[in-house]
């Protein structure tokens, strides 16, 4: 991680385009029928237990088995591949983009993800800090807890099978925690963001600068 960060460049990027483009691809092969149009607003999954599905985006039929796919993020549909309507698509084929408007917190997290070492979830499961890490976090806060490769930091829980997860990234302190105990995390989604202890002031500078800049922007109604 570089000590020098061009704040103006990073912030300028988010000012000019405060969206995240989420690509939506076919999850499996089959005949597709779109359920939204370019410009449609879509809702994300919601509810206390994330049990209320998002807006239906498309339906894929394979072997007379139609399956609806719903939005996992809110935003506006763009770049819809309407030429594919009624045709057979392959798994992984790009179908549309959802332009998701970023909030201040998401922008900060997004910038931090570029500068922190992100440790991802090995499988779709529920995650918990190991007892030792949890007790250190409770005593001192996560940013005082350092981790190094080989440390057992997290327990992965899947179907009553609890497996220790060993950290394999850069040595550093736990800056960001992206999971909530007891809530499922998808495979590959970030679990924690780690930064070397001596870079913490730089990270803090990023957070302060983005917050101040965004608050100013909101004050001026930009």
């Amino acid at each position: 991680m570089s000590d020098e960060i061009d704040f103006d460049e990073i912030l300028g990027k988010y000012h000019s385009d405060p969206y995240e483009d989420v690509e939506i691809c076919a999850e499996h092969t089959g005949k597709i029928r779109f359920l939204v149009e370019d410009g449609s607003s879509v809702e994300s999954v919601r509810g206390e237990w994330k049990h209320i599905p998002g807006t239906p985006l498309f339906e894929i039929t394979r072997e007379r088995n139609p399956k609806k796919f719903t939005a996992m993020t809110n935003g506006v549909v763009a770049s819809l591949r309407s030429e594919l309507e009624g045709r057979f698509v392959e798994a992984g084929e790009k179908l549309m983009v959802i332009r998701h408007p970023l909030k201040k917190k998401e922008i900060i997290e997004s910038i931090l993800k570029e500068v922190l070492y992100i440790f991802p979830a090995p499988e779709r499961a529920k995650y918990f800090f190991s007892l030792d890490v949890q007790s250190r976090i409770e005593k001192k806060g996560s940013r005082a807890v350092s981790v190094k490769p080989g440390d057992e930091i997290i327990i992965m829980s899947l179907m009553k099978r609890d497996t220790p997860v060993y950290y394999n990234g850069e040595k550093g302190v736990i800056h960001s925690v992206y999971f909530t105990p007891g809530v499922s995390v998808d495979q590959g989604a970030p679990l924690i963001g780690v930064c070397p202890a001596d870079k913490l002031p730089l990270i803090q500078k990023i957070v302060t600068r983005v917050k101040a800049d965004w608050d100013k922007k909101e004050e001026h109604g930009v």
């Binding site: 509810g47 599905p53 529920k126 899947l158 179907m159 009553k160 099978r161 007891g182 499922s184």
Partner: protein, 307 residues
């Protein structure tokens, strides 16, 4: 008297050849022998102790000490004890393990591919439930994932903990099991929720014979898990496994979970989360829960209690 003394690897082999194999051959496919061969490592080494603090801890210690002596850990090694002094269930819940039950830990090297590894926790509940049926407790059923219930009370519980050996970095699954057999008294906090087989049947059971039946079925189902893995690799070369595993098909026959109204939570005793009706169990073993408002949740981890 140590009721577990007759439990040896040779006795298990003999039991499988004389009783379990012919039984499965009558009901199953011609691949029965291959399946038993694939699962034959289960119980290849059996160590019986009069008492231990925790069987899981003993298993960890066994792996570490074997590595220290430059000896490979026999895959499928079993640690059994007549009683445990510091036994506990998940979330450090109370688990009473006096003489009269079957308490232990099976050491499995992690040789399973991910889609099959996910179904591993189903196996001990199935093996126990079938052994109970054979013993005359036909009311035994499985509550997702692997709790075995008799008349709504827990007769057996299982947990699987991962362990990486410190020297060679080999990953193991430690399958801990606790089966209430002839132990017929429970501490007050478990009195209303636990039951032993002898309480249910109204007669004592032969512990070593029941254990052989349970272990033989563990062999069968672990063999079946590996057999299907082998067949799938031969068919497809890998990728996504979307089929209903024969193991899951059988689990559904042994379980009474689907259709029940349940309370769900990751730790359902301390932190119950919501009520729902179990709609189905997905091919990856996940629970599909239907909420009262018509929406659905899919849970891969957590616990339920019947309402």
């Amino acid at each position: 008297m140590n009721n577990l003394a007759p439990l040896t690897a040779a006795a298990l082999n003999e039991y499988v050849s004389a009783i379990e194999l012919p039984g499965q051959q009558q009901e199953s496919s011609p691949e029965t022998e291959i399946i038993f061969r694939l699962g034959a490592y289960v119980g290849s080494l059996i160590r019986v102790y009069p008492s231990l603090d925790r069987a899981m801890d003993k298993a960890r210690h066994h792996i570490v000490s074997q590595e220290g002596e430059n000896v490979s850990v026999a895959n499928g090694s079993l640690i059994l004890a007549s009683s445990l002094h510091l036994s506990k269930g998940r979330f450090s819940r109370s688990w009473h393990a006096p003489p009269g039950g079957l308490w232990g830990c099976l050491i499995l090297a992690d040789t399973f591919l991910p889609p099959f590894r996910q179904l591993l926790p189903l196996i001990p509940g199935m093996a126990c439930c079938e052994a109970l049926h054979e013993e005359g407790a036909s009311a035994a059923s499985i509550r997702w994932v692997n709790d075995v219930l008799l008349q709504g009370k827990k007769q057996a519980g299982f947990l699987i903990e991962g362990f990486r050996s410190p020297r060679h970095g080999e990953n193991y699954h430690l399958l801990g099991f606790g089966l209430n057999l002839n132990n017929d008294s429970f501490p007050p906090e478990l009195e209303g929720s636990a039951v032993s087989l002898s309480q249910f049947l109204g007669r004592p059971v032969n512990i070593s014979r029941f254990a052989l039946s349970f272990l033989a079925k563990l062999r069968w189902y672990i063999g079946l898990l590996l057999f299907e893995e082998q067949q799938w690799l031969a068919r497809t070369g890998g990728g996504v496994y979307e089929d209903e595993h024969p193991l899951l098909k059988r689990w559904k026959e042994l379980s009474d979970t689907v259709g029940k109204r349940v309370l769900f939570g990751y730790d359902v005793v301390q932190h119950p989360q919501y009520e729902a009706v179990v709609g189905a169990v997905a091919n990856d073993g996940a629970l599909i829960l239907n909420h009262d408002d018509g929406t659905t949740s899919i849970e891969h981890s957590g616990e339920i209690r019947y309402l």
